[in-house]
Amino acid sequence: MDNKSNFRRGSVELLVLHLLNQKDYYGYELSQTIKEQSDSVLNIPVGSLYPALYKLIDSGYISDYKKQVGRRLIRVYYHIEDSGIQRLSTLIEDYNSTVAAVQQVLNYKPKNGDIIDD
């Protein structure tokens, strides 16, 4: 995992809950949708995605159910619960305030008087 991925790791919960709020997804579909919708900028490896999904299930934000597809494949679909929808709105608020705060810091330029010359 590179440094960029570390920076983006915190957004997995938000992205997963947002997508599940639209419809039920299975694991691989979630990972592919995030990759496609972000023009491959966000590529969440399945090694990170599944543990994140297990944590969301343990917290009661999402649930899972199995669906037989074809003869051999069983897909596990994930479904958002009411508590997950509440969690999503908290995460969106948190995300927006964080982005605004980070942007504010990035826009900050010290006035001439604040620069200390050696």
């Binding site: 299975y26 691989y28 490896p45 990170s48 297990y54 897909r75 596990v76």
Partner: protein
């Protein structure tokens, strides 16, 4: 030519090899991962081992990602448990070796004692008195 199933099998085997613990959570993860690879296989039809690595990451990276995101309490509990099992195994093997060494030593001492000892005997000559 290697079939997709053989490629998936060796990829999963490699991942299992890198997992420090293999309990129910890890079994579930491997199962979900296998399903994801099956979905990829249905989309791609034919692929090589390197293409699988390009898509899902190397087994080592995949396990590293899993450990990074997995429940810390579960990992710590299972690693502690396996460490305890390892210690108990080492102690048991050590105890067996020491017991065997003591048993062999006693056997040797008995053998040595038997080998160096001799049967003491006493000869009593009873003479018959012919004059009577």
């Amino acid at each position: 030519m290697i079939s997709n199933e053989q490629i998936i099998c060796s990829y999963i085997k490699e991942i299992k090899h890198h997992l420090p613990i293999y309990k129910s959570e890890e079994k579930k993860f491997i199962n979900d991962l296998q399903n994801a690879i099956m979905d990829f296989s249905n989309e791609t039809k034919e692929f090589t081992y390197n293409e699988l690595i390009n898509h899902f990451g190397s087994p080592k990276d995949l396990v590293a990602n899993y450990l990074l995101e997995a429940d810390a309490e579960h990992l710590s509990r299972e690693i502690r448990y396996s460490h305890r099992i390892k210690l108990i195994s080492i102690f048991s093997i050590g105890a067996i070796i020491v017991s065997l060494a003591i048993a062999i030593m006693f056997q040797y001492l008995f053998y040595y004692h038997a080998h160096t000892s001799y049967i003491s005997r006493e000869i009593t000559i009873i003479e018959e008195d012919n004059n009577k």
